[in-house]
């Protein structure tokens, strides 16, 4: 499918997963990501794959554990409250070093919250939503095309480092329609899954998938080994986009669909003579720390904009490390930011009216 087609973000993520070789999908419906399971239900049987609607999110993530343990490419998807339910399973997947892809099309929270788009699950995705020492690779697409490309790559990253990878979108990305192309994915050179429980055929030692360790020293060793892998991810997998930062006084920081609103705000501000730039983290973990260090030398201030009460802004502050003031502006509960409101915030910063 190399010709252009028109797809919803959710459908496109599902098709991208299939084209990346995912043949197992376990999920449970929740708005606003239902088109993912819907699409998988229609497509998986046609590619000799398995679509299974589990009895709950908890069941679904544990089915992912089973399939990943057997070496399969596997995905689950949900939206905020459903991702909360999956947290125990995610920790077990990490503890057993199992690769998989988890999609979260974020909606308003906390609690049952609402079905409109939000980015208020940043902390949960990036800072460890479950128990134990761990990170997840978190990818944040801002267009339907990027959702396709990142979903395909997510499976390779997962297999390469034996880690779950999260695609962190929002309801808007899931529901909106854009033209997309499915380029033939050139996969990475990946290590063989010689750890998977595929049957020994009496020819090798058995493999065990497990996250329970009787000896604390053994558990510490494994955690340290895993953090060495995280270090490699931090060195090799950082992705970001920076626009107009060279001469910018105020640098906007936004991810996902909000970055598109921010870009629109940047253009309007530039048209009014304000020097505004944008940093868009594409990997939220690993966070693109270095670009902030560079841009902080010339920029006067940073403004993080999010569909939340302020979560990524904490990572921006850590990355800027006190070199320049970091401000925040956000909407939450399913409310979407407008370019005009962001321009107003930029003016407040330029006029010295806003506190960081």
């Amino acid at each position: 499918m190399s010709e252009k087609v028109l797809m919803k973000g959710n459908e496109a993520v599902a098709e991208a997963a299939i084209q990346a070789g995912c043949r197992y999908f376990f999920g449970y419906p929740i708005t606003p990501q239902n088109e993912i399971p819907e699409y998988m239900a229609k497509r998986m049987p046609k590619v000799n794959g398995v679509y299974l609607q589990a009895e709950s999110e908890v069941a679904a993530i544990n089915m992912v554990y089973g399939a990943a343990g057997a070496g399969a490419r596997v995905m689950t998807s949900s939206s905020s409250p459903g991702i909360s339910l999956k947290q125990e399973g995610i920790s077990y997947l990490v503890g057993s070093d199992l690769p998989c892809v988890i999609v979260n099309m974020v909606r308003g929270g906390p609690g049952l919250g609402g079905i409109q788009p939000a980015q208020s699950d940043y902390f949960q995705a990036v800072k460890g939503g479950a128990h134990g020492d761990y990170y997840l690779v978190v990818l944040a697409p801002s267009s339907v095309q990027e959702a396709v490309d990142l979903t395909m790559e997510a499976f390779d990253i997962a297999d390469m480092y034996r880690t779950p990878v999260i695609i962190l979108g929002d309801g808007m990305l899931g529901q909106m329609m854009e033209p997309v192309q499915f380029h033939q994915y050139k996969g990475r050179n990946l290590p063989a899954k010689d750890w998977a429980t595929t049957g020994t055929n009496n020819s090798r030692k058995r493999n065990i998938i497990n996250s329970l360790f009787i000896d604390p020293q053994e558990l510490e060793n494994l955690n340290i080994e895993r953090f060495n892998r995280y270090k490699q991810i931090q060195e090799k997998e950082v992705k970001f986009e920076s626009v107009n930062c060279e001469d910018a006084d105020v640098v906007l920081v936004a991810y996902g669909t909000t970055a598109r609103v921010a870009k629109s705000a940047m253009s309007r501000a530039r048209a009014e003579g304000l020097k505004v730039g944008l940093i868009r983290p594409i990997t939220l973990w690993p966070f693109p720390v270095q670009v902030f260090q560079q841009v902080a030398r010339t920029a006067k201030a940073f403004l993080a904009v999010e569909m939340s009460m302020g979560q990524m802004v904490e990572d921006v502050r850590l990355a800027v490390n006190g070199l320049k003031p970091v401000y925040f502006y956000g909407r939450t509960g399913g409310m979407v930011l407008t370019p005009m409101a962001i321009v107003e915030e930029i003016k407040k910063i330029s006029g010295g009216e806003k506190n960081d």
Partner: protein, 224 residues
Amino acid sequence: MPMDNPRISIFTGHFGSGKTEIAINFAINCKKYYNKVAIVDLDIVNPYFRTKDASRILESQGIKVIAPLFANTNVDIPALPAEILSLFHDKDYIAIFDVGGDEIGATALGRYHRYFLNEGYQMFLVINTKRPLTKDTESILSMFEGIKKNSRLEISGLINNTNLSYDSTVEDLIEGQKIIDDVSRQTMVPTRYITGKEKILSGMPEYMKKKAFPINLYLQMPWQ
């Protein structure tokens, strides 16, 4: 809109085929000819990007908007308002039904089945052949049959809305028409309208131009 059309028009199709934009444009066009025009957001499937989003524009033109009570709120309760029934009783109304996607969305029509039969209706199937699940004759026929079955109504016209959003070209429409003509041959249901932005429609060959229905886009993204 010719005067001999039934006063009730129903827009169905695959989700993401463009039903809502077309229904909104159709309502605005009807308002030029008729005093009382109403549009019903009958979508019980889609949580975002729906008729309700354009209610301010529609209402400012004097078009009545009837939407599920909780449309565009934070709850996912697709309850249909009783007010919809008033459109069947007040025969002065031109009523436009924007239905939810696929055969699942069309199920909501069943509730009003006998009213549609009593009052007369025309039902359109909106098709965008650039949507992967309605890209060829076979998949469109399957959608056609599913919607017919679930709504228990007859599809009287096809609408060619083949587009790639901001990357649309006239070639897409021409290519789409070939597939839709094939669907027409097999179903005996004609293409009634070919929709798109006026600039794109103006590039169509003459035989297609007769069916041109130019539309404006009312549902915008927050960055547009």
